[in-house]
Amino acid sequence: MYTNYVGLEFINDYINDRYNNLLRIITKSSHNQHFQDYIKLLNGDNNKLDNVTKDKIKDEVIESLKRRKYFPQYEQSTSGLLSYIENNSKVNAKQLFDNIAYLILLKKKEEIRPLCYILDVFTKKFEVFKRIYEEYSGSLKKIGENYQKLDHYIIMSFTMIYFYNIGKNLKYLNVSLKLNDLICSSKQTIGSKDDLIILYYSIILELESINNLIMVKKIK
C-alpha cells in the first residue's frame, strides 16, 4: 500500500520502460516485419498516434478477433453473451474476453454497460489472486488449475483498458496497468500475430490514458 514516492521521474521511467518492453516483445516475435511501420510510428511524436493510424490499428484488432475461434455460436449482442454464459457449464476465459472485446469495440456505450458485471468479477479475481484461469463455470468459478496462458491476460488487459477509455472508471485502468506489468515481465514469447496487435493497441491506449491524466491534472 505504501509505495515509495519518487516524483515525476517515476512516471517518465514507467513510460520509457513500457515502450521499450513493447519494442522488445515485437522484435523478439517472428512477426516483427509486420510491425515495422507501427514501430516507426512510435518513434514519432511522444508515442502518440494520429486518429487515422489508431483507427487502422483498431480495424486490425477487430479482424484479429474475427479470425479467432469463438463460442460455438458467436454472440453478437451483450444480452446474448450474458445468457450464453449463464446457460453453460464451462466458459473459456480467452473466448469470453474475445467476445467481450468484440462487443465493446463495435457496440454503443449503453449496450455494453451490462458487461460491467463480468469485468468487475474478473477485476476482483486478478486484483486478489493475480491469476486468470483458462476455464470458468457458468457462475464464473474457476475450473482446473491452468493460469499460465499469457494470451488470456493480453485480451483481458485490452478489454479493461478499452472499457476505461469508454467510461473513465479508474479501476479498469488500474487492473490493465497491473496486467500489462505482468505481460511485460513474462519470459514467454508471444507467437501469435493477433495477440501482438492486441497487446500493441492495449499498451498504446494505456500510455495515452496516462499521458491524458498527466495533461488533465496539469502535472509538470
Binding site: T3, Y5, I11, Y14, T123, L170, K171, D181, K217, K218
Partner: protein, 239 residues
C-alpha cells in the same frame, strides 16, 4: 466528557494516534481503549518517514509519533494492552464480551478485516473509510478520488462482513492536501479523525444515538490497491 458507551479498538498505527488525539483535543474521552500491540514489532516512530515529523505538520494536523499509551496515561483513560496480531482472535472476542460498551471506534491492523465471530457478539464497530460510499469502496480510495474529483472524502459506518457495506452514519468532503506526499501517514488519518469528531458530536446531540442509513451491497464501487503510476499521478496532482 467521558463517552460512557463508547470504547476504542486500536492497533499501533498513525490512524489510532490521530483518532485519540482528535478526541482528546475535543474533550471527548473513550471509556476504555483496547490496544493491540506486539512489542516484538518495530515502534511506530521507526516506521515513519522523517519529513512528516516536522512542527508544521504536527501543528496543522496531529503528532504522528505520539505514543497511544502515553497519551492515555496523560488523560487517565483506561486501557488494556493485548499482545495479539490477529484481529479475530478468541482472546480479543473474550475481552470485548466482558465489556459493557456497545460501540467501539475501530482502527485495526492494516490488511485485516473483522469476521463473523467478532461481528456477532452484539457490539458495533465504528469505522471511518477514506472514500465516498458506496461509490468508492475498497483500498486506497483517497488516491482514486483525488484523480477523479480533485477531492477527498471520508465516510463513517458500522462494520459488516462485506467490506465497506455497513449502515452509513455520516460523510464529509475535504480538499485534496497541498502536499500529496503526506497522504498515507498524515492526511488520510487526519480526515478520518475529523469526521470521527463530527460523528461523535452528533451522537451526543442526537440523544446518544447514531443516525444510520443502509447502502446498496454490490461490487460495482470496489477499488483495489492503486497502481504505483496512478498513485504518483494523484500525489503530483496535489502539488
Amino acid at each position: 466528557m467521558i463517552l460512557k458507551n463508547i470504547g476504542m479498538l486500536l492497533a499501533n498505527n498513525v490512524r489510532s494516534t490521530a483518532y485519540l488525539q482528535a478526541l482528546i483535543k475535543n474533550n471527548l474521552f473513550p471509556s476504555i481503549i483496547i490496544f493491540l500491540s506486539n512489542e516484538e514489532k518495530a515502534s511506530i516512530r521507526d516506521t515513519l518517514p522523517e519529513f512528516i515529523k516536522t512542527k508544521k505538520i504536527i501543528s496543522k494536523y496531529f503528532d504522528p509519533i505520539q505514543n497511544i499509551t502515553d497519551l492515555a496515561d496523560s488523560y487517565n483513560i483506561r486501557y488494556k494492552i493485548l499482545k495479539i496480531d490477529d484481529i479475530n482472535s478468541v482472546e480479543l472476542v473474550s475481552e470485548l464480551e466482558k465489556l459493557n460498551e456497545k460501540y467501539f471506534i475501530y482502527s485495526g491492523p492494516g490488511g485485516q478485516i473483522l469476521k463473523r465471530n467478532i461481528l456477532s457478539i452484539g457490539k458495533e464497530f465504528l469505522h471511518v473509510h477514506p472514500g465516498k460510499l458506496p461509490g468508492y469502496r475498497g483500498s486506497t480510495t483517497i488516491y482514486y478520488s483525488i484523480i477523479d474529483k480533485d477531492m477527498c472524502y471520508a465516510s463513517s459506518f458500522f462494520l459488516r462482513e462485506n467490506i465497506d457495506t455497513g449502515p452509513l452514519i455520516k460523510e464529509k468532503e475535504f480538499p485534496k492536501p497541498e502536499n500529496g506526499e503526506i497522504i498515507d501517514f498524515i492526511y488520510d488519518p487526519f480526515i478520518r479523525s475529523s469526521l470521527l469528531i463530527d460523528v461523535i458530536n452528533e451522537y451526543i446531540e442526537n440523544d446518544y444515538k447514531f443516525p444510520m442509513k443502509q447502502q446498496p451491497i454490490d461490487d460495482e464501487g470496489n477499488y483495489y490497491i492503486i497502481h504505483p503510476v496512478l498513485k504518483h499521478i494523484a500525489i503530483l496532482a496535489c502539488d
